[in-house]
Point group: D2
Chain length 286, copies 4
């Protein structure tokens, strides 16, 4: 019913031309049409793809989880559209054994398959780490949200950022100080994103960040453990400011890390809003 001629008439901007190769009348490659609007697109692609991935773990094993994935390329001003199905094809061919260097390779492949200058990939997933309760040593799995993000530019340089979202406990120093007994405390979420050289495992970054809180969280706690973490938090009062500063001290001291952004959001047990602090540091600036 509709023909290419019809289309170029109805597209308001009048920017779409007939296809360059001229022979695809039966099923035209509309995305391949040229575009006259003179506007390049920074990022175009697929967002919010849910996909299973398998990750290598620090202890040499592997872990299968579910990721939410965004994949983009840049598009030059004279091309009408990108080819969306190729993003999924690249993803489907690469979902085993995800590691930072693998994400970089996916990004490079996207750039080639989509014939683009830049490519950008972001995965966010739940990652489980086994932790023993502090006294009884009962094992349990704790869930962390992790992100792997990579951009490859027109020179083929890859920029990789790893992020972790660590749930922990914070106990208010002011409340402790001014009260006869007790101190308000609460769950907090500490997010850290880092650029680094060499090898850095999710488990490494989680530990650095978790140590900045008043106390870590656990999956299973028996009574002796609960006593331990209650007192540990009371012995380590931290404002949201203290959490990001103590995380920053640790991240400053690790020579692998070249850039970081660390944020803490404390779900205050005395308010219905949250306390928040953030520090971003590019070590190459100093």
């Amino acid at each position: 019913m509709a023909t290419p001629a019809d289309t170029s008439a109805t597209i308001k901007t009048g920017a779409t031309e007939t296809p360059a190769n001229g022979v695809c009348k039966a099923m035209p490659d509309v995305q391949g049409f040229s575009d006259r609007r003179q506007i390049a697109i920074d990022r175009v692609g697929v967002k919010n793809v849910t996909y299973p991935i398998t990750l290598k773990t620090r202890n040499g094993g592997s872990e299968t989880t579910v990721a939410t994935i965004d994949m983009y390329v840049s598009l030059p001003h004279d091309r009408k559209g990108t080819h969306m199905s190729r993003f999924l094809e690249v993803l489907s061919e690469n979902r085993e054994g995800i590691r930072p260097e693998k994400i970089n390779a996916i990004c490079r492949e996207l750039r080639e398959r989509l014939d683009a200058e830049d490519a950008h990939v972001r995965l966010e997933f739940v990652y489980f780490i086994e932790k023993q309760a502090p006294v009884t040593k009962q094992p349990g799995l704790l869930d962390y949200r992790v992100s792997f993000e990579c951009a490859v530019d027109s020179q083929g340089n890859a920029d990789f950022v790893m992020g972790v979202s660590v749930p922990a406990a914070s106990l208010c120093p002011c409340s402790r100080e001014i009260s006869e007994y007790g101190a308000h405390n609460q769950r907090c979420q500490i997010d850290a994103e880092v650029r680094f050289t060499g090898e850095l495992w999710i488990e490494d970054l989680v530990t650095m960040v978790e140590d900045a809180a008043s106390a870590p969280l656990y999956s299973v706690l028996k009574r002796p453990d609960e006593k331990f973490v209650t007192e540990q938090a009371y012995d380590n009062p931290k404002f949201v400011e203290d959490i990001v500063r103590d995380a920053a001290l640790t991240l400053n001291a690790d020579e692998r890390i070249t850039w970081y952004s660390v944020r803490s959001e404390n779900f205050e047990s005395i308010h219905n809003h949250n306390a928040y602090a953030q520090i971003t540091m590019d070590k190459s600036d100093t």
Copy 2:
């Protein structure tokens, strides 16, 4: 392009007939077609409508807020579809001065305008209540999520349910008991839904529920206030079980309330999962 004859050919179930009135070729009322599948529909309508509403408050004033609204009717087995635009028309005509009895009236109007046996309306919105800090008396607004839900049946009887979602603080009795100092505490969310006779304001139900927690939350707390609520929570340790039981005691004692369901979810500051308890009580059963 498409004609009614085409449609009935392509609908797989073959259940759609030509329109009863026969004269609507130009713009047929497809929803009004008859249906042969012999399957009645319990609820059909619009969901997740975002709309401003104005509520009467207990102190005689009014409050404008934003509601998320679902509106449904039942559909008999022999009618193909309902008329979706009429739901929005009824809503648009009734958005001022929302009170329980007004919701009942909207439900009755829906039933008539859609020529239905039953009608069902649910609004969920944020409601602000001014609270003074406990010591300094600093004023501030605290936000509560509230729901008004009404079903009108084929006899015209209205069943109204009011719900409030109250954020509060809970402090763990076990942690307090077994620890040398401190006690883990956290924000919790206490949800209560009630059926009632006579007049019951949102503010009334919020107070009943809030009193069951270890301490209430506030928008603004200066240091003397923070000391007060810290000690108040420590003096009122509550398991999630205690919160729903103490709320139940209050709801049992109020003669206006004929049915309730109360739930508490505590965002444990020692775990990354939540503690939860629930009690549902129909007083007419006892």
Copy 3:
């Protein structure tokens, strides 16, 4: 600092007694205290636990995914609290090879370990099914949200409900009928929950529900596939009412299914709200 005597003084309800066994001064079992409020609790336990699970698939393989889990038991009126850590212990011991009968076993084990009358478990997780594009047969994984829910009562009877949430496409019959060309269509989400006898796989239920839409969704579609699904949807116009009715016809015809609730929510491409319909049917009533 705090002693049991202090506690009973400060708990407002005055309902907590000293522990029955009398010898746990050093680390009292506060949950085991008796309670005088005379209020039984319907459900108490843990909510929103994030945990990896491994499921058996219809083709004989297995699939590892991430579940959000709620686990509850009932609590008699005379017991102060349940033992939250045991829920996680039961979960941790049972996370391999999840199948409906395994969920029932977990429920029974919870009932015993928590010494409760009833137990209730709910898992919600993403499940991937490989689907080939309709024309080019390109493979790809599509993600479905699935729930397994089980309640075991005081007689030990298990009530199991399986649910699937199926994304699909709906095309409006009215829009097609009244327009010269085109028809508005959109993504919809069809949720079905079923009780059944015998064996029913996730894949079985997904197929029954998916067939009720105008067209299914795919992960990878090349141009011949896109043409196919566009025309398929246009050839199968469905109101939200048609979707739930056609799903009901299929669920009615399957003798394994004894009860169902099916809902469709259509994310209308002409409105910023959704169309919705729901049918619930207990076959034993008819």
Copy 4:
């Protein structure tokens, strides 16, 4: 119980000193302590505050809605904490008659009251605009998410960004081109953020962005309206790339706008993932 001396002993970093003024034993200002960690904080404050606000509208009236608000200041390296309650005090005193210039004033006041170098405020809220159906002229309210964001730097310069999130319809040019009949279409969400000089109303920006889609959305549509918007979308096929390019053309042409970022996310009715495109342009660069 706890004293300042205790605290400095238990804070792991050993960075907290006794208060400068020396006389606040009874209720020390812990936030006012000095800090030796040598780490400045970029942003600290309150996040996710839910608060009612009243906005001036383009037609000279006002509209009350509910905002989610973040408020931050920077903190120098030698101060232990900020004073969280003051953020809420500033908010509470300024919630009437919100306009861009008012947000700038709030930011400046925060900077002074918190004695900070920089301040940052972000509000996100639902804003309703009355729209008439295209043929029958039936009125209805459509909801848009809007953001006002302001940063004031150490020189007192204010940087204001306004954002709108516009729901609309997109119809796929490729699907239309290659199919015998029909074309897949879907709801999309177009987000635009702009910096500007002079006066720019929410309504202005919404219109610029909405015009870039295949068709706008409405609250109430009768059958003649539904026919109109179905055909309008079919006559205006747009890839996600076309939407951001056509929005960019409009934003380029408006001399008030000095910088923008525009994004579209299309909730594809043939996939369970979304198509996405983004263009960011600083006009002062060109």
